[in-house]
């Protein structure tokens, strides 16, 4: 594995150069305390946090962008196909596959694990061509975390803090405003060969240095090991804990919207305004917390109660999808749902409450 050592400034300059050729996305400040994973433009504010950054130091805790980077691989309202209808009533349908080259840079381990899980989902069974076309043309430059991004983080608890799979290039903060740079795939090697960063022979030593610097424990931890959390969430069905947290829920679906492993969608058709004989089908994000999510034709709702919909979401993240894919927790511990929720409903608290409730049982 080839390694390099360069200043943060040199890496940012390189990303800016890359952005002249293709879309490069990077966490950028949005308002006072928020970050958005946006396209790098000429005057974009780009920065990596310092190796010695204190846990609470602002402004650069860029990890938890409101929207996770993986959403760029399945954007809201993406076109699925275009159609036109001729005078004989015959249709012409053309699927839309986005094969533009792009780079997601500054992707944190939690979001990297989430992208890996979305790869698994979209390759499973009948594969999703639209996601995979984008994914196969995307370069991922990941960035390690030495401090939790904020008080909501619990990525170590869900097993995603040390995730590296799926990244083409992996950046690790180093002293003296530097980054160690590793290529993890052939694509990453080609890119770094062309970048001209100073080579580094003892990349392992630099990784160890960062590991030593890393906060311990890292972020929040469940009151039990992850497997016990998964088992407990899996076996909890009629628990009063579900009702307790649902009581203050507005069913707004924000938790779905910001979750890096929420991928439910709806398909919608439109006619073109200019030409009523042509149009498109698009795919938009949907959320299982929304009331109409499980309604069938005729109006029957299979999950009318809020608590049932909340339970559905939590069990998908911490029981059902982990069991189906065997790749650990589908909650990657990014903390977004708890952070963005208007009434602070947090999957972390729900899991802990379920643990406590199970413990209390005779």
């Amino acid at each position: 594995m080839r390694g390099f050592l360069a200043t943060r400034t040199a890496v940012l300059d390189w990303l800016r150069t890359l952005a002249l050729q293709e879309d490069v996305f990077f966490p950028q400040p949005m308002g006072e305390n928020s970050f958005s994973f946006d396209k790098v433009r000429k005057h974009s504010t780009l920065a990596f946090e310092d190796f010695d950054a204190a846990p609470a130091e602002k402004p650069f805790r860029a990890s938890a962008c409101v929207q996770p980077p993986g959403k760029k691989l399945s954007p809201n309202d993406e076109q699925i196909f275009r159609f036109s209808k001729d005078e004989n009533g015959q249709y012409q349908l053309t699927p839309t596959l986005d094969a533009r080259k792009r780079t997601l840079a500054g992707v944190r381990p939690c979001d990297l694990k989430a992208i890996h899980l979305m790869d698994r989902v979209n390759r499973d069974g009948i594969p999703d061509a639209h996601y995979l076309s984008r994914r196969q043309n995307t370069t991922i430059i990941a960035h390690d975390c030495l401090q939790p991004c904020d008080e909501h983080c619990f990525c170590e608890a869900t097993g995603s803090l040390r995730w590296r799979q799926g990244a083409d290039i992996f950046l690790t903060p180093q002293p003296e405003a530097k980054l160690s740079i590793e290529a993890l795939t052939e694509r990453g090697e080609r890119l770094l060969d062309a970048a001209g960063f100073p080579p580094c022979d003892d990349i392992e030593k630099h990784r160890a240095l960062a590991e030593e610097k890393r906060a311990k424990p890292f972020g929040r931890h469940f009151d039990a090991p992850l497997q016990q959390v998964i088992d407990t969430v899996g076996s909890s069905w009629a628990s009063p804990v579900w009702d307790k947290h649902a009581e203050r829920c507005f069913a707004c679906g924000t938790c779905n919207l910001v979750c890096p492993t929420c991928y439910c969608f709806d398909l919608k058709d439109d006619f073109s305004i200019d030409d009523p004989h042509s149009g498109q089908r698009t795919r938009s994000w949907d959320g299982c917390l929304l009331e109409e999510f499980a309604v069938v034709a005729g109006g029957h709702n299979f999950r009318p109660q809020l608590a049932a919909r909340q339970r559905h979401r939590i069990k998908r993240k911490l029981a059902w999808l982990p069991a189906r894919f065997g790749d650990g927790s589908f909650c990657v511990g990014c903390g977004r749902c708890g952070h963005q929720c208007t009434v602070h409903i947090d999957i972390f608290d729900i899991a802990n409450d379920l643990l406590a409730a199970t413990e209390a049982e005779p």
């Binding site: 069905w237 058709d269 034709a297 029957h300």
Partner: protein
Amino acid sequence: MTPMDVDPNVLTPRMARILEARDMTAQERFFHLQLPGALAHRPGQFVMASIPGIGEAPISISCGPRHDGQLELLVRNAGSLTRAMHRLQAGDFMGIRGPFGSGFRLAEFEGRDIIFVAGGLGLAPLRSLIEPVLAEPRRFGRITLISGCRTPADEIYRERMQAWAGLPQARVVRLVNDTAHLPWDGEVGLVTAPIAELEIDVDNTLAVLCGPPVMYKFVIMELAARGLPNTQIFIDLERRMRCGIGKCGHCQINHVTCCREGPVFRFSELESLPEALT
């Protein structure tokens, strides 16, 4: 990520020409379609049917397996898409994706007595299994169909059922909840009633159910009372599939996706799925 071969048309339908379209009841319209290529479906599978520009919805395949690219659907007018479908005529086109779902495996029914219980539109998907079963009388045991609907005006596939009733291996019980002062040559009552009087060889009988959620509980209670084990009851469930490929999340029942593992389940499989029948 390792590249893989994928079908670019996974969410893009093929356009099927409508060979025949007619109203079967005031609510249901029957379509006989011709696809450009084979569909190769199993009984109990469904397709995603659409009109480009209007939308797409899951519709059960109503005919038995065939290899000529033809298929039959019975579409209830239940929303903006199906309302638009009710205006389609022979010669028009309908988008079709699929087939999707587990469906029934004919081999599992070989040599068995089969009791079909259909409620309302539930007969449409069951017909995809009833016809191949009746077509090979020596391969299967005694066949009973209990089909119920609200009033005589709501009955679907009436002529079909009358023809099946004439076959030596088949018994057909047609019921309505209420005759609504219309002529009626069947019985009046719920689909549960005839089950009590059936001669059931418990070791060699399979039951297949499709209808509204409210029907299942009572039919299952009645079959259980007759001693039929849960492993011998098949249920064809309805959910709001949007993709058919296990991705969109809409049809998920607890840990299973109805469009992949279902929509046909053995009742014994549903016992671990508390949301399946409610």
